[in-house]
Symmetry: C2
Subunit: 317 residues, 2 copies
């Protein structure tokens, strides 16, 4: 059995722990196609927050409390950068994490595509899942906001909006810069074409899953592919379990509940994405036209609970 | 009074502490023209060992025991790079130090010349001395060695020879790659033209001072300039106080003693560099034709002792 998962960062990483546990049980192979829209260059280093969250989490190196970055992290470089007055100060890089970015940046500068770099980094972490960026091309999520110092609009990088402004400034829309010219990373289309099922992780639908699907040809490979597609709701009882999906959904005018997000994805039969949609028990009444809705506990408290979620999702199709 | 010092790394840095102390006493201005031949890119970062040794030492941030790098240094990035198997493993970057290289590399990538970057970094460290790279252009000391795995010759970067091989492989000569096309950094020729005295620090003459003088026009600005030139011997009683000057001198066929190094520099009156040459008391009999040789204690144990050395050097001319 071949499972392909479309995933963002922390939610995607935790979900993949469950997918991996399930896959080990049944002898399945897992490929994760990961969002790169959050990626940025900071202090000259290429940082891929979602790929790293997934890699560190699956490799046993993630900080379980903070939810991002490395366990046992130290911050010497950050405080020295601050002593130099080096901008941006709002994006903190941990010392251990920086090693990852140095290796990645050196390889990218040397001409390796991000997919090859990701594979090389994974030889250390042995995530047990094939990790792929959605694209090797530069695709960055920018956010059109009202300038805090005036009434003009300007676009800022997603990380600036998210980390610096905590998504708390007047926001108009998201733009996936570079998406038009991006191509799926090598292997992504093949993985989708030979998948037995495609899972959409309970990641932020607007800024984690949407940029993956914004790569031309990738969405079509999912919606027109042979495998059924099942999504897992990131919203439980009308609230995001973690992160700021509520703010992102508000920007795109979608109700922050399980039915709203299911409707945003839409049914495959009507040009959308989903065959099945797994929601939490409290949202069991959610209706998404054309989509089989099922319910199961969705709190990813540990791998066993998450593997049960995955099983429930697969049983929908 | 305007003092210009030609300097390498650790010896140069300690000497400059004494020059600065002396200059504060008499109200002089100090410019240090620093070797860049040791510079290298490692893990994508531009590292300038000599400029950093001088900057950290004068700024009070150097590790006094180790002699290089930052006080209170930590090594999280290094051990993570090793976990990735990232080469080179023989050149260790400390966490605090890395912040300097990140700022420098980002500015260089952004188009600033090394001299401007050095000035920017110095705004934090306030070294009390104007720090200048000998050149903004890429000038790297390479070493022609016999390949350890065969009998062919090949050139390796100075740092690989020094740090990785501890200068303990068959060595044929030094090459200052890029020297022909290098130009003195902005301000260097002006500083030399308006100097009242030029001091040659007790740095390694072969791999610290020679690459500075290898920049076309720079040597001529010293030898043909208005200021007397006084050197301080890095060799005391036939031995290098620190470092591996003995090995470097052997490669160029120069006797490892105060007279040998003085003769290598030569007298200004015969096309060489020096008007005066300060040696240790035990070397007081050293003769360098055409050069005024004086003696004074040369162990740079503290700023006061080093300032006394500087005073003795200046009294020679």
């Amino acid at each position: 059995m071949r499972i392909v998962v479309l995933a963002g960062g922390i939610g995607g990483a935790r979900f993949l722990l469950g997918v991996r546990a399930y896959a080990r049980e049944v002898g399945a192979a897992v490929t994760a196609v990961v969002n790169v829209g959050d990626d940025l260059y900071v202090h000259g280093l290429k940082v891929c927050p979602d790929l790293d969250s997934v890699m560190y989490t699956l490799g046993g190196g993630a900080d379980p409390e903070r939810g991002w970055g490395r366990a046992g992290e130290t911050w010497a470089v950050r405080s020295e950068l601050a002593a130099y007055g080096a901008e941006p100060t709002w994006f903190g890089l941990g010392d251990r994490d920086i090693a990852t970015h140095l290796v990645r940046t050196t390889m990218l500068t040397g001409g390796y595509p991000l997919s090859a770099v990701t594979e090389a980094l994974a030889t250390r972490w042995q995530p047990g899942v094939r990790l792929m960026p959605a694209t090797d091309d530069r695709l960055e999520t920018h956010v059109v906001v009202s300038d805090p110092d005036g009434d003009v609009q300007r676009a800022i990088h997603f990380q600036e909006w998210w980390v610096r402004y905590r998504a708390e400034i007047p926001t108009h829309r998201f733009v996936f810069v570079g998406a038009e010219a991006a191509r799926p990373a090598p292997g992504v289309l093949d993985a989708l074409a030979s998948a037995d099922v495609v899972l959409v992780a309970p990641s932020n639908p607007v800024v984690s899953v949407a940029p993956v699907l914004a790569v031309p040809g990738l969405r079509e490979a999912v919606t027109g592919g042979p495998a059924p597609v099942v999504g897992v709701s990131p919203i439980i009882g009308g609230a995001a379990v973690r992160g700021m999906a509520d703010r992102c959904l508000a920007v795109v005018g979608v109700e922050c509940d399980a039915a709203g997000v299911g409707g945003l994805y839409g049914s495959r039969s009507s040009g959308g994405l989903l065959d099945g949609w797994l929601v939490a028990p409290e949202d069991a009444g959610a209706v998404v036209p054309g989509v089989t809705v099922g319910s199961a506990p969705l709190l990813m408290t540990d791998e066993t609970a998450t593997a049960a979620m995955v099983r429930a999702a697969l049983e929908l199709v």
